[in-house]
């Protein structure tokens, strides 16, 4: 009963009063910031990052995770009540969720989202507990060749799933990789792209770039249509799903959870893919398929379940391989590195209480969300309706303090402002920043693994094709690329991404 002992260890870590409190605080703050329109999980986490400084590592990680799924939940609340998705993956929720809200069923839509999220979160957590040790064990047998190929797959997936053209996404990833190279080369000690300033010797802080592009970049973009911005928040009435709602929700929740759990593990943008696929599947198979887009409860329950299940399982590649699958996970790695922890397969064996504490706190956090959000929904609705001209100066203050507090460095704040402007520019030219963010973390890893792999093989690149696992990974990556180039799949992708816009 090893897993039982592991859970016990997790429970004893997660339920110390301090950790429980910070889990609660994380969930609460994450939701409070996440419901604010236009703030997705990346911006939310980077704004709230300073709150985790000075905490012990396990507490900080638990709080960060709480902030993450709190902000996810907050995002769907805004999507339902205001038709403003905070991030791409809650776009699907707006389709039927806001439609239900318009029909006066906002409470039932919110309840459906909360219940399906909780169920999916529970399954997702169990899935992590069962599969992460296996994968971490497997990961210890991976050599640099396998890691390099996995990174290539992750980057290609994120490019394929980015909106806009593949070439643009490729350029963004390359630009991100160059940003990642700034600083001292770990191998030779050479200072690269530092422009002779000592500020850049330690590299460009990842959190600084993400905060600039997502936090500040959003502010610039939102100020653009300030005048036309409407703040119509739907009223919330009864929060209890009817018996018929339950009946209609059950199967979609199960299916959505299944899709989410599996797709979340994929490197790239699993969360987004999961919610879209779940919605598409329900639309195809539901007996009420004509109601989709007009306020079908299945259209809220299934993607929300998939969304949340994937949000849980996307921790798996990060915790077991140290490879982020999404921009949010990349930010989590950045935050962990600030804390002095390098995520990877060693976490599970060397810091089991950290790992299992996190797993258990994920479940506790989901439980708290269920009991926190439904009663507090009135408060969230009030928060959503705060006019933007009061909101954005506060966002500016929070991002500035957050970035300054990482190293007490003014230079970082200037960099953040610069990347805020760049983030706005990327938005203007229709380039999605997700591949850039991922490549900034994955690029230096790719370089290191490539160097090691070629060192072992004496410069022979064919090693990537002779290792079966590496070959398999590269074949999947190649198939993904081919599929997007072939006209038939291109049409499917364009339709899928169009719905996201």
């Amino acid at each position: 009963m090893e897993i039982f002992n592991d859970f016990l260890l997790g429970f004893s870590t997660a339920t110390t009063s301090g950790n429980l409190l910070y889990c609660f605080l994380g969930v609460l703050l994450g939701t409070a910031v996440g419901v604010l329109p236009g703030l997705g999980p990346v911006a939310t986490i980077s704004m709230l990052l300073p709150f985790t400084f000075g905490l012990p590592v396990d507490t900080a990680l638990i709080m960060l995770a709480g902030i993450f799924y709190g902000s996810q939940y907050g995002g769907s609340t805004t999507a339902i009540l205001m038709n403003l998705p905070g991030e791409a993956s809650s776009v699907v929720t707006t389709l039927d969720g806001h439609e239900m809200a318009k029909q006066g069923k906002a409470g039932r839509a919110l309840a459906a989202a909360a219940i399906s999220s909780f169920f999916a979160g529970t399954v997702g957590t169990l899935f992590i507990a069962a599969s992460a040790p296996l994968l971490a064990g497997l990961a210890l047998t991976f050599g640099p060749t396998e890691y390099f190929s996995l990174i290539v797959l992750g980057l290609i997936t994120s490019m394929v799933l980015a909106s806009g053209s593949l070439l643009t996404a490729f350029g963004m990833a390359l630009f991100g990789a160059i940003l990642g190279m700034i600083g001292t080369d770990v191998n030779s000690g050479a200072a690269r792209f530092t422009f002779d300033t000592p500020n850049l010797l330690d590299g460009l802080n990842f959190v600084v770039v993400a905060t600039g592009i997502f936090g500040l970049g959003d502010v610039f973009a939102n100020l653009e249509n300030e005048r036309s911005r409407s703040a119509g928040v739907a009223a919330v009435s009864s929060l209890f799903p009817t018996r018929e709602d339950w009946k209609r929700m059950c199967a979609p929740i199960m299916r959505g959870t299944g899709i989410g759990v599996l797709l979340g593990v994929l490197p790239g943008a699993g969360v987004l893919l999961a919610s879209f696929s779940a919605y598409a599947l329900e639309k195809k198979f539901s007996r009420h398929s004509t109601e989709f887009g007009k306020g079908a409860i299945e259209g809220v329950a299934a993607p929300e379940a998939a969304n949340n299940a994937a949000a849980q399982t996307c921790f798996i590649p990060m915790l077991t391989l140290g490879l982020p699958g999404t921009a949010t996970m990349a930010l989590m790695i950045g935050a962990l590195v600030v804390q002095g922890v390098q995520p990877g397969p060693e976490i599970l064996t060397q810091q089991p209480s950290l790992f299992w504490g996190l797993v258990v706190s994920m479940w506790l956090g989901n439980l708290m969300l269920l009991f926190l959000n439904l009663p507090l929904v009135g408060v969230w609705a009030k928060l959503i309706s705060v006019p933007y001209h009061y909101l954005f100066p506060m966002i500016c203050v929070f991002v500035a303090i957050g970035v300054y507090s990482i190293n007490n460095s003014v230079f970082d704040v200037y960099m953040m402002a610069l990347f805020g402007v760049l983030g706005y520019f990327f938005r203007k030219v229709g380039a999605e920043p997700a591949p850039l963010i991922l490549a900034m973390i994955l690029g230096p890893m790719a370089e290191e693994y490539l160097r090691r792999a070629l060192l072992i093989s004496h410069g022979d690149p064919s090693v990537f094709l002779t290792s079966p696992l590496s070959l398999g990974t590269l074949v999947i990556a190649a198939l993904l690329l081919l599929s997007i180039i072939s006209p038939r799949f291109r049409k499917v992708r364009e339709e899928g991404l169009q719905e996201a816009d």
């Binding site: 400084f53 070439l167 160059i178 792209f193 100020l223 954005f392 303090i401 704040v413 203007k428």
Partner: protein, 149 residues
């Protein structure tokens, strides 16, 4: 003629790639079996230049959305407010710096009015931030800087 989105982005990638390539060529390249610090940067920046040129070519041949209008006000005012915050935080301290950033960035909005209500709100928010970040979280910043002490 309208400027196209792709022309701007392609140019950005090509120029950034060229600069990165010129810098990267100065680092020892090494061989495939012993990659030097210049190996990866040269490969990546060459690819970036190629991608930039590819996007530029596409912008000429294919139809593409025009480059949208830019609202310069926020783009200038908010970074300026952040620079003021950075300059002020050492000599003036945390509280005044936050207050300055808050008011200057708020001035970007078309709905900005400086009356007693908003001023009181700004003061209250800056005070709350100070209590939260300096007192509770314990960030090592002076509430009031050396100039004000």
């Amino acid at each position: 003629m309208k400027i196209r989105q792709d022309s701007v982005l392609g140019l950005f990638f090509a120029i950034t790639g060229c600069i990165a390539l010129l810098i990267a060529l100065k680092y020892p390249f090494g061989t495939a079996s012993r990659m030097g610090p210049g190996f990866f940067p040269v490969v990546i920046s060459t690819l970036l230049v190629a991608t930039g040129i590819g996007i530029l070519i596409r912008s000429i041949s294919a139809s593409c959305d025009p480059f949208p209008a830019i609202t310069w006000k926020a783009l200038v005012m908010i970074p300026a407010a952040i620079i003021v915050f950075c300059v002020a935080i050492e000599p003036l301290g945390f509280l005044p710096a936050v207050l300055l950033l808050l008011v200057l960035s708020a001035a970007t909005s078309v709905k900005f009015r400086l009356d007693w209500k908003t001023s009181a709100g700004a003061l209250l928010f800056a005070g709350l931030c100070t209590v939260l970040f300096v007192e509770l979280i314990g960030l090592p910043m002076p509430v009031l800087g050396i100039w004000l002490q």
